[in-house]
Symmetry: D2
């Protein structure tokens, strides 16, 4: 397939699957799963993962070398703008000025839903401070637009709560976000299995970020391979233009959605 690249800010990528690094059995499993996923962008929870803060402990970057992967530090575990901003600055230092970050400001520990008000506030600060911000948010199209207009390089609406594995709960909202988007829309959180990822791409999303769906599968490396193929399948199906839906083939018109 000849496809355009995924362009995030000035960076370009072939793969449209972004992956996290948490919840694996060990660093070797992390390495194998990420390799099988074909991901080029790998997100790292700075507050939970050693990327140099503790020089005496195993460093994730030893198995995921920054010259091979684009490391995307994220602010998982931050519940307000101030903590999130501080975490991004720490990451930039640890990564020698690398300014691409994934911002997430959570609303509560139970649902891990984003706090969109704090998210907007953190974004403003980070963008002024020179960061390229990819931003985790709800599937609210008004907030998504505001984040884009503020200057985020990618808006990342949830498919469902982090770690839920429920798939895209509200494709209508994702569709509304896509209709207006000028930056890549990357579904972040909630994907549970391969078809969920394919559906996101078929809707027209530009990429999918996931962690638990791979790491908490019974065979993470095999699921990583499944996800790689599902993302490509969904992308190709989107570009190929699917057949219309009908109640049956001889129906004179596509289904109008008037009865279910």
């Amino acid at each position: 397939m000849t496809d355009t690249t995924l362009k995030i800010g000035e960076r370009e990528f072939q793969s449209r699957l972004l992956v996290g690094t948490g919840k694996y059995k060990d660093l070797e499993e992390t390495r194998l799963a990420i390799e099988a996923s074909g991901a080029e962008i790998v997100t790292v929870a700075v507050r939970r993962t050693n990327i140099g803060q503790n020089p005496d402990e195993p460093n994730l970057l030893d198995v995921l070398p920054p010259d091979r992967y684009t490391i995307l530090p994220n602010t998982a575990g931050c519940y307000n703008a101030k903590d999130a901003v501080r975490t991004c600055r720490l990451a930039r230092e640890l990564l020698d000025g690398h300014n691409l970050v994934k911002l997430e400001v959570l609303g509560d520990e139970k649902t891990l839903f984003p706090n969109v008000v704090e998210t907007l506030s953190a974004c403003e600060t980070l963008i002024k401070d020179g960061f390229d911000v990819m931003v985790y948010t709800s599937d609210d199209p008004i907030i998504a637009k505001e984040l884009e207009q503020m200057g985020c390089v990618s808006v990342m609406p949830l498919a469902a709560p982090i770690g839920s594995g429920l798939g895209i709960r509200n494709p209508y909202n994702i569709r509304m976000i896509l209709e207006e988007a000028k930056v890549p829309i990357i579904v972040d959180a909630g994907v549970g299995t391969a078809s969920d990822a394919a559906i996101a791409m078929e809707l027209g999303c530009h990429g999918v970020l996931m962690n638990t769906a791979i790491a908490a599968a019974q065979k993470p490396v095999l699921m990583a391979s499944a996800m790689r193929k599902a993302i490509e399948a969904g992308r190709e199906a989107y570009l190929a233009g699917r057949m219309p839906r009908k109640l049956y083939a001889s129906a004179s018109s596509p289904i109008e959605g008037t009865f279910f």
Copy 2:
């Protein structure tokens, strides 16, 4: 991935995607799409396609050589057992004794739903007559079981009406069929896009047969590639064992299905 093969009767296959040959622009597009799909089994409507009946016209087998593909003659267009049996015998003659067929006996021209009573009757005759019968049927688990017990080498429930592109309308019935199945269950008809195929495989189906979803896409060859990847993705996700679904990650138990 190390996977078992798809075993249909005594034949074994690597690919779990089976494709039809109708509705393409021309034979060249047919050839390219089928190549991109990676399919090893290609089904042919004997009543509508020249596989030797008309020696002076273009023969499908020239672009789909039987030494490369397993040709699966089908009885599309037959509305009773008698016509279907006769069509299978004609195919066997044309294909030098090849005894693998896909039986479909339709119920009406509007919905193209199977007539399961005539299907059962045709099956009985064909099996006695030495055919290896793969059989298109509804998603009724009782009929599916009866077809298996009669000796069909594969039972092929519809996902949705032929040519509808609606995807799996009733995964519950497919699930009930799978719980009891001892022969491969191959979803036949109704798939519309890549994620539909992935979902079929994630449910545990052993394969998917499709035609319109590829041939009626805006770019059939690209859609064929999407389908190949989707089938592999769904199969791998099934084998990998997906994460459990929860309302949110911190929920103490998987979703019990008690509220939606």
Copy 3:
């Protein structure tokens, strides 16, 4: 609301909710729940319920007097045509020549799915024998049509397996059945809660029969009242003609069903 009556053969009814009599705590709860449901047609499993077979035991007809309710004997527990026919004849004797029956011929004990082949066979015998047959079947539109053409006074497709509470699993099939129907289509089995019943009526079904959804609710009498209102609500909504669905109000056209 001014509505037409539900006409089954020559009989006419105001209520479109039909109820079963199994699984209640005692006969008093049965009586109260059925009263709250407003049902006029009450179905009775002849093989499991005393309607006169055992003169010394409590008789269901003492709490559900046939001069107030139309008793609809059913063949629950029959797995072949012969048993079902015999059961219907026994019921006719016990009920002094009452010839309206609900035929169900089951396919297996696990799923309680109908065996449509045996059902067709039993129907033929019963109709010749002068019965007015209401017939439980799968949601297969070809079988439904055949049962109607044979002379059944009502065709009763399942929403989902008996006792599952899953609601209408495949509204597309119910819709196809309704498009062609000339006798009342009454959804039988699978309804779990009030909205399930409303959805059946909104699709255009002529009635709904249920048992477990009421009897296995925590408060059966209250659920019976809920179901009565849900059936009326769904019927009125169907007659009122719902607003079109759109992605949002300012969208220029109704949703075409092309993306989900």
Copy 4:
């Protein structure tokens, strides 16, 4: 049924259906539909409806007398906090100090999605100013909680965009909101037909507000009656406690949601 009342601030209501007044053919149809709905709370768009601003024109309150209905002024058409606050104050003046309002601050004219940031800001001002605020919002559980903690007397998440008729797009989010709620949660916007309203109540919502679903039905007065019954049916079903869902009745455990 013996049910508790719907308590909003200090006011108590028997009906759990709240209705709007827009889009009717004329005031007489408005009156008849609202009467058929059984609603006690009627919401009025102050910017679009004459409730005394124009003394020489027909006044809605002549057909909906405030001694019979609780008039709920709303801020439809406001796109920022300032306009919304001013509109509420105008309404209070026109209605002699009546302090119950429905706040909606919209995000854009295309989707009519709420702007939650401006909504939070308007709420703060209105509550300080002595209003009892019922607030239209997205289905974001974090924002819903914040609005409750701020002192709103009811939180009103959308089911789907205003005027879309899509029903509850994301019952998971509504469920999360309900788990934490201490004030009535009233679904506002997006309901299209009777079963949508029943589903909202079965989830545990305390009420439903709708306008287009009734006014844009082909027969608004009949649809109003349908909605009244659907709300009661859904509420009763919720209180009655539905049966568990199973793949089939003999399954040993309720469906765990692990496969669809």
